[in-house]
């Protein structure tokens, strides 16, 4: 019986197994039984039809105007844009967040004075910075991704030159709007940071007085920066404009000696700003430092810059590898030294001086001895005859801190009759004696990193005293910050509320150099005219010459006006499109877009073009319907591409069209 059943079972084995499985699923809860009952929304990143948001016009977007042109709101606005990822990189990279694309757009339109005003709003010395700025902005200029960055620095210089021609000492509009306030503010030091703070405070109507130790204003820009890089009339003109707002500059008054901070308070200054910079050149504890013929950088530069006669030999050794050392070396070359040698700890690529400065000094025949540290200054009869140096094996330790290590055995002698030390500066803070302002054990100022307030209420600090060795534009940025603190302090507001940190340079990509070989001539940036070595070596004439008007306008038109959402006709979409669907042309003068045509029939929706668009005006829309329309609509030109508030321009006629 069993056998019979088994046979029967075998014959229908598969059916039984099938029934088994069916049973299993009948009893268990079905998993694959949900169907989507809703139409899902389309992704925001959908790569559909191309559309443009607009074309460049006369009034471009301007960060400054949009933010209300107040230092406090501007910072917040810049941060907001950064968060949205729509902050032009040049503005973000500039320590003072100058509205560069606004400047470029105005220059392109021929409105040089307006451009000057919006630059001055953040960078109070456009003429000066147009010459000596180290322009971190240009390395991050998006144009540098396509070919070469826009010459932002030279455009600063150009508009400052244009403004100087008009000889308008101040901005009449600004002056009219000034509302007077009674509170008096004292600023110690007339360097860039002090001037920046004075500018902002004076605009708000405060009575600002600057006290300056030297006979002339300008700080290190007047004392240190050599004449061949910055003619002094430029500096004075820029300072005049600050003065034009009602700022009083008292030169020849050294706070701490002629006056004390207590006196200032007694005189009714409600707030005091210390912007004394770094004035004292550091010395070295090596044998022979007190020999005749050993000089320090700052006094040397000051003497050279004020036209005094300096006594140096024919064979000068400069110790140091920074920008100051380069300036010293080049100045020494100009005041009569026949041979100038620089000795620095760092290897060539580590030198803190800017590469273009090193380049120029090499052109002028300055020798650079890299990776050597001074051991002793050799003397004979009390006069310098040379410098003994030892090899420096490493400048930084594993954590990247400055901690040089030397190989004492490996030495050599550099001959020379003068040694100038340019190994850094320190601040002279003797003025704080007798006040509540505290210094730390390294005799540096103790201050609040956010509000820049010192340990005494009502006393603030800015500039290089707070940041350490920095740059002019970096100091100006802290000046703006200090001005915000002071005005809040005087109005009795919370100093800290909503304060934002400076934007980190790391946020932005520095573009690598583009291979310029295949690139058309008109896409390149103009090269400034430079004096040749013979022309410049024995005088203090300015080396680089500025742009002519035509060149400047052309250069400003190279600006891509990043994130303006208005097409500038840069043609990079057309260049990137693998299928050549896009044709773009500018008008002859380059100021407007003349033609923009997309052949959607060829488009394969790869999205490379909109990824390239620097303005973010070319977008792929989540619409696909157009593909169903008649074929001639697939080719649309400039007018049809524009998007109106409601939708696309072509949408309005939708009713008349039938599906093909």
């Amino acid at each position: 019986m069993l056998k019979k059943f088994w046979k029967f079972f075998e014959a229908f084995q598969s059916i039984f197994i099938g029934m088994g499985i069916t049973f299993k699923y009948l009893t268990s809860k079905a998993v694959t039984f949900q169907y989507p009952d809703q139409k899902r929304p389309i992704s925001l990143r959908w790569r559909g039809l191309l559309a443009l948001k607009g074309f460049m016009g006369e009034t471009p977007h301007q960060l400054l105007r949009e933010s209300g042109a107040e230092p406090q709101t501007y910072k917040a606005y810049v941060h907001k844009r950064l968060k949205e990822d729509t902050l032009p990189h040049c503005t973000g990279a500039c320590p003072a967040n100058v509205d560069v694309s606004g400047q470029n757009a105005l220059v392109a339109e021929g409105k040089y004075l307006e451009a000057f005003e919006i630059v001055q709003e953040r960078n109070i010395l456009p003429g000066v910075l147009g010459r000596i700025c180290h322009h971190p902005c240009e390395g991050r200029c998006r144009r540098g991704y396509y070919d070469e960055p826009v010459s932002i620095k030279f455009l600063h210089r150009f508009i400052a030159e244009e403004a100087r021609k008009t000889r308008r000492k101040n901005n009449p509009k600004l002056k009219r709007e000034l509302k007077k306030r009674e509170e008096k503010v004292a600023i110690i030091g007339s360097g860039p940071s002090g001037l920046a703070a004075a500018f902002d405070l004076a605009k708000e109507g405060y009575q600002v007085t600057i006290f300056e130790k030297q006979k002339f204003p300008g700080g290190m820009l007047a004392i240190g920066v050599p004449l061949y890089r910055l003619p002094r009339d430029v500096l004075l003109f820029d300072i005049e404009r600050v003065k034009g707002l009602g700022v009083e500059i008292r030169t020849g008054v050294e706070v701490g000696k002629d006056l004390t901070i207590k006196d200032l308070k007694k005189q009714g200054f409600k707030a005091i700003l210390i912007a004394v910079g770094l004035q004292v050149s550091r010395s070295l504890p090596i044998p022979g430092i007190d020999l005749d013929g050993v000089l320090l950088a700052v006094p040397f530069l000051k003497a050279v810059n004020s036209g005094e006669k300096v006594k140096i030999g024919k064979d000068v050794i400069v110790i140091g590898g920074g920008n100051v050392a380069v300036d010293v070396a080049r100045c020494a070359r100009r005041v009569g030294a026949e041979k100038v040698k620089m000795v620095c700890l760092e290897a060539r690529h580590e030198m803190p001086a800017f590469p273009w400065e090193i380049e120029e000094s090499l052109e002028e025949g300055i020798e650079i001895h890299c990776s050597w540290g001074p051991k002793q200054i050799l003397g004979k009869d009390g006069r310098v005859v040379g410098l003994e140096v030892k090899e420096c094996t490493a400048v930084f330790d594993a954590q990247g801190r400055f901690a040089p290590t030397f190989c004492e055995e490996h030495t050599k002698v550099v001959e020379g009759d003068t040694v100038i030390l340019a190994i850094g500066q320190a601040s002279d803070l003797s003025l704080v004696e007798g006040t509540e302002i505290k210094l730390n054990e390294r005799r540096q100022l103790i201050f609040d990193k956010v509000t820049l307030e010192t340990t005494e209420t009502g006393v603030f600090a800015c500039g290089e005293v707070t940041t350490g060795p920095s740059t002019a534009i970096g100091s100006i940025a802290t000046g703006h910050e200090a001005a915000i603190s002071i005005s809040r302090f005087l109005r009795g507001e919370d100093l800290r509320k909503g304060r934002l940190p400076a934007i980190n340079l790391e946020e932005f990509e520095e573009y690598p150099q583009v291979d310029l070989e295949d690139i058309e001539e008109e896409r390149l940036r103009p090269r400034p005219v430079k004096l040749s070595v013979e022309e410049r070596i024995d005088n203090f004439k300015e080396i680089e010459l500025g742009f002519k008007e035509k060149v400047a306008v052309k250069e400003a038109l190279r600006c891509l006006r990043c994130y303006s959402e208005k097409c500038v006709g840069c043609t990079f979409c057309a260049r990137t499109c693998p299928d050549f669907c896009i044709e773009v042309e500018r008008t002859r003068d380059g100021k407007r877009v003349a033609k923009y045509q997309i052949e959607m029939g060829k488009c394969m929706f790869c999205g490379l073009c909109s990824e390239q668009c620097p303005t973010r005006s070319l977008v792929m829309t989540p619409q696909h319907e157009l593909a169903f329309y008649q074929k001639e609509l697939l080719e649309y030109d400039k007018e049809k591409l524009l998007r109106s508030e409601k939708g696309y321009a072509f949408k309005e006629k939708e009713k008349e069209r039938k599906y093909a």
């Binding site: 295949d518 690139i519 057309a574 260049r575 050549f580």
Partner: protein, 153 residues
Amino acid sequence: MKNPQFIKEIKKKFGKVILDFKSYNDEIILTIDKTSLLPLAKELKKIGFEYFSFVTAVDYQERIILVYRLSSFKDKVNLILKAILPLSDLKIDSVSSIWGGANWHEREVFDLFGVVFDHHPDLRRILLPENWSGHPLRKDYRDEDVVKRKEYF
């Protein structure tokens, strides 16, 4: 190089015909004389290069270089074998009798480059139509229908 053993072996046996020899971590690049391809291929298969990845060609205008890629799973070594063919004599032995996969790949090279593989069982065009004229991947290939692209950078 993980396995210097058989490199030595190959070098000993075929030292004369190897024109160039490079090796990275686990990649060997061998350039050989085209006449000795077949015996070398047999030997290679024997020492473990059983896996045939592809063969292709690169047109360097005056000569065409055939590139064979073989792998040995046993020793975890990959090999690129290069044979140089002058344009005047685009003929080489077929290896499809050793690695079956070479059959289609060689047909492809014949189709697109015009390299003739001797003793190939079925040397026909594979991707292009039978009646196509010319070999499109050659640098000297011209076609009137091809649209010229703009040079844009």
